[in-house]
Each structure stands twice: as C-alpha cells, then as structure tokens.
Symmetry: D2
Subunit: 212 residues, 4 copies
C-alpha cells in the first residue's frame, strides 16, 4: 500500500480560485489500486511554498509526491520533465516577492529531472481520453520554484517526486480565448497519473520530446 | 411555447465521432423556459446536408434553428456571425466532393448574417462559466455550406437561424495539443444558447468584434 | 497599361507607425509589367476612410484598387475573401468612434466578395518565397469597414477591388511574441500581388479554404 | 580583441536549407567592437554535432561560443537559458538516430545554464528592433543535445557558451502559417547578440521569465 501526496497551490495573480487546489481537494483520501492519496495546500510564496510541502512530507511520510500548479494557456495536463535553479518572476508572488534570476538553492545544481515516470503518466492519461503531453519547461515562477525545491529536498531519498501543470478551468477562461479543462477531468487526470506512478517503478519508452 | 431545432453533423475526415452529433443527441426533447428542443442528424456532404435540415424544418415546423458543427483548434463555443456563398473545401466531404471556389447558391448573395442573437448567446454562456466567443468566419467547408444554405432557405420567413461551432471533445484531442471541451459542457452550452435565443427577440449591445 | 491604386492606413491604437502606410509609400510610382502603381493614405476613422479612398479613385481613375491594413498576430500576407456589412469595433477608431453591430451601409447586402484574384495573388507570393494565405475574415474594425465601403462604391463598375492584411513590422513586435515581417518583404509582396492582379483577369483554381 | 565562434546546423528533416547555417555564413570574419566572429558548420547528428564544435573550439581558441539552430514555430530570436541531459528525438537525426530518454553524457548533471548574458542579448536585440525573447526550453532534439554537450565540454573553462534558436526563413514558411524572419535580420540579430556578449561580462537584471 503506497501513500502518494498530491499538493495544490492557492489562487494567485488576483484570481479567486486555483484549479490545482480545487482538483486536489477532490482527491483527499481517494483509494487507488495499492495506494491512497493524501493532500496539502501550498501558498504561492517564494520559499514558503517549499516549506509547506516539506512539512507535509514529514507529516505524511509519503512514498511519492506530485506537486500541481495552474498553467494558463495550456490545453493539456502536462507532467514536467525538469526543474531549474532559477527564480525569474514575471509577476509578484502572493507576498510581493519578484526576484529576477536568483537561485532557488545557492550552489544547487542547475537542474533536476522529475523522478516520476512522466511517459507512463502521459500514456495512461491519453489512453483514458484525457489530453496529456510531456512539458520541457515548468517556467520560472513559483511552480518551478516548488518543483526544484522539493526535488532538492528529496534528492538523497527514495521518495519519487514530480510536478504536473494543469489547464485553467472553464469558468476562468469563459471570457477569453484561452483553453480550459473541466474540474472533473483534471481531478480524474491527476488520479490516473497517481495510479501510473504506483504502477510504473520504471518509466516506459514513449516518444515525447520536442524539436525545440 | 417555442420550438427550437438543433442539428448535429455526423463524423467526417476519418474521425469516429463528432461532438456536434453527440451533444445534440443529449438535447433531444429537452424542455426550456417557454421552449422545447428537437434535433436532427446531418450528413457531412455537400447539398445533402442542406436537404436534411430543410426536411427537418418541414417536419418539425420550428420557431428557431441552430445548426452545430465541430471546430478543431477552437477553445470556446463560437456562435457564427456570417455565412458566405462559397465552397472551398480543404478536404473532401463524406462523399468525396471537394469543390474549389464554387457558389453554394448560384446568384445567391455573397453573405447572410445569422438571424439569431449572437451577442446574447455569448453573454449567457460566459455568465454560465462556459467559454464563448463570437466568430466572424465559419470557414469554407460543409459547416459554412450548411449555414449559408439554411439561411438562404429561411430568408423570407420568420424562422431565426444561426450556426454554432464547438470545440473537439477531450478524447479527440488526447494525443494532440489541440484545445477541447467536455461533452457535458458543450451540451449545456447549446442548451443555454437555445434559452438565450428564446429570451432575446432583439440582440443585446455587447462588444464582440475583432480588429482583424 | 493598367493603373492600380494601393492604399495604406495611418497608425492607430496608439502606435507610432503603420506597416501598411510604410509599405505603400515605397510603392508610389512603381512600374509593373503592363501597369503602374499609385497610392493614397487613409485615416483610421469610420466613414472618413471610405471617403478618402473614393476621392483617390475619382482622382486617379484606376483599373484596380488594393486597400491594405495591418493585422497584428498574423504570420503572412493575407488577401481577404469577403467584406461584411457590420461595424463592431473592439477599440475606438482615431476619432473616438466605437460602434457596436452597426451597418456600414444601411440596407446594403450582408457581404461582398473581393473582386480581385485572391488565389492567383496567394500563389504568386508563395512562389516568390513570401508567406501568404487567403483569409476568410477581415475582422469588424476599420479594415473591414473600408473593404466593405469601397466594394459597395465600386459594385456596379468594372474596377476590381480587394483588401490585403499584412503582419506587424519587426520593430513593432520586438518586445512581444507576435509574428512579424520585414518592410522590404511586405512591400515586395504587395508589388507581386499587384502584378498578379494585372496578370489574372480570371482567378486560378487553388485550394485555399479552411475547415472552420 | 575577443574571438567569438558562432556555429550553424546543416539542414535536417528533409529541408533544403537551414537558416542557422545561412545566417552564420554571412557572419564569417565580421569585425565587432573589440571582437571578431569565426564560424563553423555542424552536422545534425547525435554526438557528431558536439564533436564538430569541440574541434572548432580547439582550432579557433575562441573566448565565447554561440551555437545556433532553427526553431520552427517561433516568432523571435530566442537565447536559451538551460540545456538538459536528455535526448528524446521526435524525429530521426540526419543519420537515422532516434533515441528516447537517453542521457547525452552518462552521469552528467541534469542541466547546465547558459554562460552567456541572455538578458543583455535579449535587450540589445529588442533595442535594435529585432524580436527577441528568452526561452526556457531548447527542446530535446539535436539543438539541446549540442547545447548540453558543448556546455559540458567547457564546464571548467573560462569560455562562455550559449545556444540561440532562430525562426524559419520566409521561403521556408511561404506555404504555411508558421512565423518567419528575414535572413538579413537573423544575421544582424546574431551579430548584435555577439556584440552584447563581448560588452557584458555580467548579465543585466531584466524581467524575462515565464509563469509556466
């Protein structure tokens, strides 16, 4: 029986809701084949985001961690491949921090790959009829910040961790031409991804790269 | 009590399903405030598409007609503003016709505006949290063909008619980076649009144009 | 010897330059095979734009007219297929007019097709290595307004007329992620288009439509 | 007097030309303020690409290296921020290699940041009226492969190195709706970037990140 911690960010940038948090709330206590989901809520604030997830890891002692954030403009659920050691915030976080080209961890390595099976997750979602693509950049805002910080914290452990970006909700996109995905499908997608993590100790071989 | 006919196209271009037909099936017999919905299925074939809807109009004697088609690449439900008198098919229709720059109605006018309240529909969907935008082109394939042909047939009647394009379903977009919308939301959006048609004899004033 | 009038809009929306005007200035007096180019400058103002071009037509007595405007977001030079009888301005024009869903010509027809050979122009530019695509919507701002108004004015004459949208200049797009095209290529493209107009009394058969 | 090596890839994926190579050829021997440019041609082949640039570095003994590649779909010249230790080729390279999720350097670090001043380059190009944006992913094909491999080779040296992606040429995009940039502007942009490298030992502080 594996325990998988899935975390969701609070709203930011003036928004009233964050689909990551809404989806994660629906997954609290959900039972998987050979697994169960626990959750935590994450502030959109530099360093405090990392601290909140570390605290939840200490509390829940999970086997795997999936951190989740909103990606306006994306059409699909996108497991991220790599976190990079840079904060270059286009907007301020929820406490007004707006670093430019600052390291997240001083003297940390430039990048960390996801230690979750991103191709297996992608295939499982696609087979379930849920739009899913590997992403090769998590940006340079709090999402990447959290991805990197948690990966750094877990670097010498057996706990697998990765970040997944999700689209806007339809109500967030209603007056715009941005793509969206229903809350039910986002939650189902994260559940399918969690099951794929449990089922795939090794990732599968599946073309998923980009030319540029 | 108004009767509103909503029509959906069959699959085309090698696809197994068409979200327009799937959504319309869910709306058969649905009761609105002061209205009810009837439906019909439309072949993706030049001229036969128009004939099928004309036959359904004769049979059902509706007060309003909404023709519906799939728009791969669009993020929102898009009420169309104008039909144009041209067939310029990028791919063949379901019976192999691929006209280039042929008129739909010889000596017909170049364009017909929708006679449905496109701005009121757009606002109603947006207020319901459903992504919606006015579109200024229905393309030059069978969707525009049907829009034009039915508008021409109804030109001297009191029956209002317009075309609505809808996004792909998630399962159609699962392996791609194309935007999509859940079937439940598409069906709900068409129902909200039908109610807005019944509720707005005159369209509302709402900015909805494009620069280009 | 044919005379072809090419018109360019002034800057609008707070911009300092308009690539249409800059390109057209480069074409004044240019000699083609069996033709020559004359130009005029057009205000981005409702009705005054149409009046300015009508005056230039009366003055120059051209055989053909190409009206040209800027299309932010487009990657290619795009000959427009159809003008529609609606003003639905997303922003105000240069004199503060912002009509919503007002006709350009009261009781005018809903649409007018371009009377220039849009496919021949498209093919000529593509063969010259210049990105070019037929467009099926000229929007609902002053570009479409002018396209419709001039087409209406010329409706019972032998003078061919059409509208061409062009991309932003690189310096306009430098800080954005919008596509652009060099001024030299835009001007060359308009010259190639003008030559194609002179060379093709009848348009060619070339697939150029869209599904939606 | 600084020496800067700029490298360009050969055509790939069935294309007849590569704008990177065409632009780089125009820069051979160009003199900058306090600098000069030397060039080399790079095969689009796994490992051989890296070997070719290492050989050119040994031969030319440059102070800086800029590797350059084509990025279909991009609107701007994009200095890359980070290379990642993965080959995940969506198409085969020019010798038929198509690795999936293979490391470029076994036991190499997951990522390497560019050691060129990417923000200073970006600002210099924008101020010259040339569309330019920092990119946070160089993809997972031969471009990223070369970026990573050269960065790894130079990791303990004083030689700065970074990768720049450039748009398609207009003639490559002529029949498509992909964005493009003139060869003259691409070459000028690379020259401006090279000058910015020489002029900025330290990078400047400029917002250039992305939310996701």
């Amino acid at each position: 029986m594996k325990k998988i911690l899935i975390t969701g960010f609070e709203p930011f940038g003036g928004a009233a809701i964050n689909p990551a948090l809404e989806a994660v709330k629906l997954l609290d206590g959900v039972v998987l084949n050979n697994g169960e989901i626990v959750i935590c809520q994450v502030p959109v604030t530099r360093f405090k985001a990392i601290d909140a997830v570390i605290e939840a890891i200490k509390h829940h002692q999970p086997d795997y961690v999936i951190t989740v954030g909103q990606a306006g403009g994306r059409t699909a659920i996108t497991p991220e491949r790599v976190a990079i050691n840079i904060d270059d915030f286009r907007i301020a976080d929820n406490e007004g921090n707006q670093p430019i080209d600052q390291p997240i961890v001083v003297d940390g390595p430039d990048g960390y790959f996801s230690t979750l099976p991103i191709k297996a997750m992608t295939q499982a979602l696609q087979q379930a009829g849920i739009p899913c693509q590997v992403s090769n950049t998590a940006g340079t805002f709090v999402c990447n910040h959290l991805f990197y910080g948690v990966q750094h914290y877990l670097r010498d452990t057996a706990i697998g961790h990765g970040f997944i970006h999700i689209p806007l909700l339809p109500e967030q996109a209603a007056l715009t031409d941005q793509p969206s995905m229903s809350l039910a499908m986002i939650a189902e997608g994260l559940k399918v991804a969690a099951q794929a993590v449990i089922d795939n100790e090794q990732d599968i071989q599946l073309i998923g790269g980009t030319i540029c």
